[in-house]
Each structure stands twice: as C-alpha cells, then as structure tokens.
Amino acid sequence: MTSLPAYPSDRKLGLVIDLDICVGCHACAVNCKEWNTGGHMAPLTDYEAWGDSPSGVWFNRIHSFEAGEGVNGRTVHFPKSCLHCEQPACVTVCPTGASYKRGEDGIVLVDEDLCIGCKLCSWACPYGAREFDEDVGVMKKCTLCIDRIYNDKLEEIDRVPACVATCPVGARHFGDLGDPKSEVSQLVAQRAGYDLMPELGYKPVNKYLPLRTNRAQAGCTGAPAAPLKDPREEGTGSRLLRWLDRALSR
C-alpha cells in the first residue's frame, strides 16, 4: 500500500550526521555497499566493474562542497543517503504498492517482488536517494539496515546501520528521532540539527548537524608569534656546549 500509514507510531528511526566531524573518507559508503550487497536489497549491482567506466548501485554517497570564501569559507564533506522522510512522495507516487513506509518505525522500503521498475519514485525523491538496478530491473534504496538493527544474531553493539558502525570519527549517529529523550534527539536539539530542503515539505527524519561556527577564530590562539632563538646566542645552553659547538664548527 503506497498510502502513508494511517496510524504511524511515534518511533522514527533515522540518522544524525555531523558535518563538523565528517572527514570525507567514504568508509561509511564502502561498508554500506559491502553489507547491503548481501543484505535485504541484495545485490547492489555493479556494471563494468573492471571496465573503462565502472558504475553501480550505492545507497550512500559522499559529496564534498566548498561554502563561502577565504577565512570564512569551509570545505564540507557531505554524506547523503535516504532520509526516511515523514512525507515521502517517493512512496505515494508508486503505482504498484512496492514502495512503502513502515508504520512501526518509519523506515521507507521497496518490495522488489512488486516493483515494475517505472522509476517514478526516483523522480519524486528530491535528494537522489533511490538508484535503479538495471540488471534486476527494480528500484533499490537504503533500508536503514533493517537486517542489522533488528538482528539478534549480532552483538548488541553491532545492531546499528553499517555506515554508523564503521565511521572512524563518530560522525554518524543512529536512533529514534521520534523520542525527544533519545540521545540523537538531544544531539539535534543541542547542535541545532537541520533538514535538507525543508521548503519541499518532505519532512526528512535524518538530520544534519551544522559546522561549529567558532572555528573561524580557531587559527588564532591569542599567543604572540615569537621566532625561535639561536642556541649559540649568549645566555642559551651550557658553557661547555657552546665551547663544543665552536670547536666543532672550526
């Protein structure tokens, strides 16, 4: 059913991505590909993997931007995957019922057995979160790793999406954004987490944490810049060392 759940629960599972911390290493994207090519939406097909122009299906893409100029400018690494929107037009436009939003946790999924591969959902997603698999002929997208987060075969610590588990700098957080007391919700509140393209009204669940603004002054510590002194000058080092230095310099 591609109508949105009539009685959605308060649970809204999603990601919080810290743009201040991300170093753009693409580890999350690689681990996503690795997990998911054997996961719920498997495979994540590659075309011409060893050819001249390799391409393929990925659920997570790391963009890099420059914003502003000079000392106030920033280089920002910007991971982007499905935002599991609260008003996902990608779901409502689907003619077959293949795309759906789960009532119990808000995760947006595709039922591959129903999908006719009309691609309309990928047109309806403003964020480019859906990628068509030409080999299988169906649409694929991020599952928020439903096969990890509910997987009791995994250690509890591993029951997070693959991207979150692998981020080496802790720039990705996973949790229930519908619960104001959850760690992710508090993080969003403290750091003024924001939505991408809020004007389109999709109400993304995933939030982005902005860059800390006081970094503009971080290059200036307040200490005066002083040149290093030459150790041979008067008053530095021991008398013996100075004599040695002179003797050896001859």
């Binding site: 109508s3 931007f65 100029e69 999908c115 006719i116 009309c118 309806a124 403003p126 902005p210």
Partner: protein, 312 residues
C-alpha cells in the same frame, strides 16, 4: 530529466488519441454525428490505435513490463496508477459507443458523453503525474495541466478535422476546436517558457545542503568519478541555445503553422483543404514531439544541486 523516447511517444500519441476520442464522444452526444459505419471504423481505428500505441510504448521503459498490471492497484495515492486505471477504463465506454455505431448503426449519446468525460480525465491524470512532482520545478507548476489538455486538444482536433473532411461527416465545428486548441497551446507554452526562464521558486544548492550561512555553495568533488543512475536519469542537460531553437520549432511547427493551414483550409476548395489539413497534422506531430522532448530535457531535478548545479 532524461528525455526517454518511449515516454515522449506515449504522452504525444495517447494525448492526441484520447482528445480525438473525447471529441468523437462529444460530437455524438451533441447529436452532430450520423452513424455511418465506414467513417466509424476509420475513426475508432485511428483514435484507439494512437491510444494503444502510446500505452504500449509507455511500458517499454519499465524494468518489469510483465508486472505492469500491478500499476492499477494504488489509485488512492498515485497519479500514475490513476492514469493507468483511467486509460484502460476509457476502452469500456469507447467499446460500447463503437458497438452502437458500428453494429446497431446508432449513436448512443450517453456512451458518447461518458467516453468524452473519461478520455479528458485520462489526459488530466497523465499531466498530474508530472505536475505533482515537487523536485522538478519545470513540471510542478500551474502550466503543466493546461499544457497537456491544450496540446492534446490541438492534435486530437486536427486528426478529427481531417477525418471529418475525409468522411461524410459535418466538419465545420471541428475547425473551431482545432483552432482553439492550437491558439491555447501556443499561448500556454509561451507563458510556461516565461515562467521557466524567470527562475521563480527555484531550489538552491544552499538550501539543498544547508551550508548557505557560509556563503555560496560549490561542488568540490563529486562522490563518484563516472556517471551513475542519478546523473543519467536526472542530470540531463541541454545547451540553452539549442533550447531556444527547439522552442521556436515547437511553437511554429506545432501550433502556428498548423493554425495558418487550418484557417486556409476553411477558405479553399475540397482536396486543397485535405492537403492543407494533412500538412497541419504532420507539422503538429513534429512540433508536439519536439515540445515533449524539451519538456523533459529542460526540466531540472533538485538532485543536480548535489552535483554542482546552483539552482534547480
């Protein structure tokens, strides 16, 4: 947006076909038509042939055409599903109307009225598939629906006029519909292009990333070195100077020259007017396909904002 040939042919051919069905139904319901079997056969083969050709070609771009029947299920939320349901449903009143005309040699006015309503609703549903997509400003605006209706009417009425001239059918009122459709198409497209160029309501790289507080946002490196699905499907770009040239072709070939031909046909003798109408039909088809190609090629998707576009 990538201009897929299958979708261009689908919207152009079935748009005209449904409009011709709507006119057949409308003229029948209005009591203008007489149930001559030969003209009936020609009309139904013509209009239903165009519609069927369009619908079949639309299934060509599907990943799983054999599952296409599933698309009838989600009419509660999806305009594509509604379009599927309406497009197939229209065959029902069309079939009943055709049976009355061809078998019983009678114009069943109620069936004609139903056919007309159903065919117009189908064109509206096709337009709404595009008009409802918020990430594509070139489609998500007030001009899309009237554009599809007017252009459908222009093609359908031209075909109807040519058919009416060929057959023993009163044809004068058909000219009015063709002229109205052509003038309306030209006017709507001019307003639409003006809206497109104005850049009103465009999304920006700043709102797509939320990084606008630092200043202008520029792409530093893309996530991948080769084109991916997103760029092939939604990153299609057309040079502005080509767009301007193609717009002129669409305007003149699609609407203004056919309009001149239709008006000239009114004043000329039989046979000459047939030639003029045939020329109008061909020119209109070229213009319509050009316009439909542009409708896709000029449409920018917001995903391009993540790949270096400043506005979309």
């Amino acid at each position: 947006m990538h201009p897929a040939l299958s979708v261009i042919l689908f919207t152009s051919a079935s748009g005209g076909g449904y409009a011709m069905l709507a006119l057949l139904g409308l003229f029948g319901a209005g009591g203008v038509l007489s149930p001559d079997p030969l003209s009936g056969w020609v009309a139904f083969i013509w209009a239903l042939g165009m519609v069927t050709f369009g619908l079949l070609s639309s299934t060509l771009h599907l990943g799983h055409p054999e599952r296409a029947w599933r698309a009838f299920s989600q009419w509660r939320s999806s305009w594509l599903s509604r379009e599927g349901v309406l497009s197939v449903f229209t065959f029902l009143p069309a079939g009943i109307y055709a049976i009355g005309w061809l078998v019983f040699e009678d114009i069943w006015r109620w069936a004609g009225a139903l056919l007309s309503v159903s065919a117009i609703a189908t064109i509206c549903a096709t337009a709404m598939i595009y008009a409802s997509l918020k990430p594509i400003r070139a489609w998500n605006n007030l001009w899309t629906l009237p554009g599809y209706l007017a252009m459908g009417l222009a093609s359908g009425a031209l075909w109807f006029t040519l058919w009416a001239e060929l057959m023993p059918v009163p044809h004068k009122p058909a000219y009015d519909f063709a002229a109205v459709g052509l003038v309306a198409s030209a006017a709507i497209k001019l307003f639409y292009w003006h809206f497109l160029d104005s850049g009103a309501r465009a999304a920006t790289a700043e709102s797509a990333t939320g990084l606008g507080s630092f200043g202008k946002v520029r792409m530093l490196t893309a996530p991948h070195t080769e084109e991916n699905y997103l760029l092939k499907e939604m990153g299609f770009r057309i040079a502005r100077k080509h767009a301007q040239k193609l717009r002129r072709i669409a305007l003149f070939s699609g609407f203004l020259l056919p309009l001149a031909a239709v008006l000239a046909a009114l004043l000329t003798t039989h046979l000459v007017d047939l030639v003029l109408l045939a020329v109008a039909v061909v020119l209109n088809a070229i213009g319509t396909i050009t316009e439909r190609w542009l409708f896709f090629a000029e449409a920018k998707h917001t995903v391009t904002l993540y790949y270096g576009a400043e506005r979309a």
